[in-house]
Every structure is written in C-alpha cells, then in structure tokens.
Amino acid sequence: MTTAVASVTAAEARAPRLALSRAELLKLRRRRGLVALLAAMTVLPMVIGFTVTSILHASNPVKHPSAGGIENFAGSMEMLGVLVSIAAVLVGVTAGAGDLGAGVFRTLVVTGRSRLRLFAARIPGGLALVLPFVALGFAVAAVASTALAGSEPQPDVGFVARMAAWIALQAAVAFAIGLGAGSLFGSRGMSIGVVLGWMLAVEPLLAAISVLGSLRIGLLGAALQRLTPTSPLVEDGGPSIAMSAGAAATVVALWAIVPLAVGAWRTATRDA
C-alpha cells in the first residue's frame, strides 16, 4: 500500500458525524407505524381537544367556556407532557434497539466505526424525529389557546416559552431513558415494558407513598413537577414532593445522563 493510499484511507475513516445522525433519522422516519403513533400522540390530541371544546363552546357558550385561554393552555400542556413522554420513550427504544433487532448492528461495527460514535449518533437522530412533532403539537395548543381565548385571559409569551422548554425537556429526558433502555436490553418489547411500566405504574405509586418522604425527590415525575412553569393566572397546587429547583434540575439531569451512560457502555461492550 502506498503512502497516498494510506492517507486516503485515514481520511475515509473519519465519517462526518452529521451523516451518521442523518442515517439514524432515516431509519426512524421510514417506520410508518412509529411516525403515525408519534403524530397520534402529539399533534392529533391537541387538534381533537381544541376542536371538540370549540364545538362545545359554540353550541352552548354559557355552559362551556372558551376553548382557548391560559387555563386551557396549561391543561393541554399537562396532557401533552404525558403523551410526549410516552411517544419519546417509544422512539428512544426504537433508536436503541433497532439495529440490534434487525441484526444490522454487526454490519455497522464491521465498518470500523467506533461503537460510541454509533451510539452517540442515535441521540440527535432520534431527537430530530421527536422534537418536530412535539413542536407541532405544542404550536397547535399555543395558537389555539390564543386564537380561541375569547373573553378568557391569553397565555403571555413568557409563559408559552417556559412551557415550550418544559415540554421539550420532558420529551428529551424520556427519549434518553428509552434510548438507554433499548441499547441496554437490545429488545424493543422488553424495553418498552420496563420503561413505561416504571413511568406509568411504579413511579406514581412510589410518589403516593408518603412514608418514603424525601427519598421521593429521586423520582423523575416529582422533579419535573417541581420544574413546571407557573403563571399567576393559573391555579397552582404546588409540587406534592417538596424540593429545591436545583435539586429537581439535578434529578432530571441524572435521569437523562445515567440511562445514556448505561446504553453507551452496553453498546461498547456487547458482542456484536
């Protein structure tokens, strides 16, 4: 082999990171079922929710208040937060376990590409699918809440921006948990069962057991609740588990970082 060929080879070995992330996005966005589910859990509920309440308001304005306004916006965000988390887990798990399930992980490892880079590419690739749907669902809610406010107070720009960040945060953390679990278990079914079982059944149960006291600040749901944006115009019952904003931010960060670290470790060490 000549020196010239060797240098070409070395240059070729450096694949652009963007290309790897784009490839991850391609794998995800071509899964029609997953994309339909994502739309059904982000955009569709907002469209249906505001359409139904608008019709109800139009048919009987005395009995049914305006579909928009800040109260309805806050309520829709609560629902969107839950749905977005579930959708993001599904995408994260698919990104983490997809190559393994299809037997393609081995093919990618054989290219010589670092396993950690293969794993890292899944993060922007997956988020590039999740976040636009989240943004669209959010935009529907924000626009409808403003346009259909009628005599109700409208959400101000600051509150909308804080809500957007909070929803995006929930989506990103749920995606990270799904990705970590998918990469760890290598199986979509098992990963979805474990993560959603924890999020939807075990965690709420633990949060409700008051004898656990301050131990519950480690729960993701409690930390996210503590970080929920508030507005003087919305009744706020306050967080059910007391903790500082700093502690909540740390808990949320750990819930994102630890699953990613575990997923990266497993991707780097598993037999392909």
Binding site: M1, T3, E12, L20, A102, T107, L108, V109, T111, A272
Partner: protein
Amino acid sequence: MSIEYVVETAGLTKRFGERVAVDDVDLRIPRGSAFGYLGPNGAGKTTLIRMLLGLTDASAGRMRLLGRPVPAQREEALARVGAIVEEPRFHGHLTGRENLEIVAAARGRQAHGRIDGALRRVGLAERANDRVKGYSLGMRQRLGVAQSLLADPELLILDEPTNGLDPAGIREFRHMIRGFVDEGRTVLLSSHLLDEVEKICDAVAIVDLGRVVAQGPIDAIAAGGTSGIVVGSGEPERALSVVSGHAAVCSAEHLADGLRLTLRSDVERDKAGADINRRLVEAGIPVHRFEPVTTSLEQRFLEITSRLEAA
C-alpha cells in the same frame, strides 16, 4: 509499503468458559488470493472471523489486518475491509439503497459515491428502491456483497456466503468472487462446503475443533494425501495378482471395470505407476485405462479430520 499477508494471526485463541472455540491459530493469508477457511460446522470458523472484525474479543494471541494490529488500529484496518458475517442482515422496512446509505454513512464520504456502482455490480440496480423485506435470500446475499463493496475493500471476508443459494446463484457467486480476486482484492471465504472452496479458492486452511490443521495452496495440501492409480482392465483378478506384490502398492480395491490402487505415501507416483504399467504389459494383461488419481481436497480433508478423530 506493500504487505505480503492481508491477515496474520499468531496464537489466536477464544474461550467461552471451559470450551475453546478457537485454539492457538496461526494464520497467514496471502494478498490477492481467494483463501478458503474450511472446516465442519462448529469448528470455530465464524468465531475467528468475529475476532478479526472486532465483533468479539480474543482471549489470547495477536492479529494483523492489512498490516495493522487489531484491535489497536481496528478503525484504520477495517476501513478497507468488507465483510458478511453469517447471513447478511438489513432493515427490512428500508429499501436496498437506503440500507446501503446507512452503511455508507458509517463508512465515510467516499462510500456514498460507490452505492450506484455497487448495486450495478451485484445486479440489483433495478430493485434498489424496493423494500428489503421483499427481497429473496439470493438478493439479500447480493445486497450484502454490495454493502461490502462500499469500502472499496482490499480484503473481503465472506462467511458461508452461498448458504441457501440455488445452484445458479452459487455459480453466479463463484464468478463474482473470482472477479474480485482478478481485480487484486483478497477474498477470505469461510465455508464447510469442500467443493465450493476447491472451485473458488487458491489456498486454504483446514480447521477442526478450533485448530488449523493444515494450510497452504490447495494443490499442495491435496498432494500431501494418499495418491493412487486406476487400472481399467477386463481381467481384474489377473491384474490384481500382478500388482498386489508390488512394493509401492499399499492396497487395491475392485472397480466395475478394473482396480483402484492406493500407493504408499513415500513413493513417487509417476515412477511407481510406470513400473506397475510395465509389469502388467509384460504379464500380457489387457489394460484399457491407466489413470493417476489426483487426491481431491475433499479426500484430503476427510483424511485429516478422520485422523484427528482417531487420535
């Protein structure tokens, strides 16, 4: 710098608990050849390939791929290696072209430019935009080769590539592999099919129970086995009485139209054959065929492995 061997291993070993899957393998694969890695199922062929490609760690020993130590310089070494390990697998929901785009993204910028050429080369250009879940096994195998070609490989590693192919597909595959060798690439073909290796490869390593028991050019390995002569005669009993006492003949068996003689391994076949022929003629025995028997790789393989079983 030109390297003589594209794959070199020394003392390569893989253990799974107490079981040794690859046992102290020293392997040298010359550049520009089709090299068969031949052994029965469970002999450790795939495990060795998986170690070479960094899919699993070695328990002991050293490896070099394209002159680079692996795993220390794995990324650089694999940049010019294409491989199919066991059956090629793809994302069924993506098209053939999209699957290649995924691999090209991991390979680097230049690999993208090779997608069309690779699809044409394996005859899949027309079906490139169909989803892979609708592909036949043969098409998947060809797509696997196309995927390997994205690296513009100096070394192609193909693990049991003809598994599940029909005779026409096998023949097509054989031509394709020889074509790669003619272009100066090296092909490492792992197989349990002796006939396939014999038809495609220039050199071979025979592996059994995780150990390489013989390696070298196919002719040289086959020549290391027993040699024989087929004597076609209408009077086989008389012929047998003449040759049975010959010092070079180790055994003789009846055929439908004569005898098959097995010669002792320490004699020179041509010389012994000439002497046996002379004696038959002098004894007035009609001989209509006198044919040296070349030991096939299959016979040699069976000799080696049966010797191992007896040991």
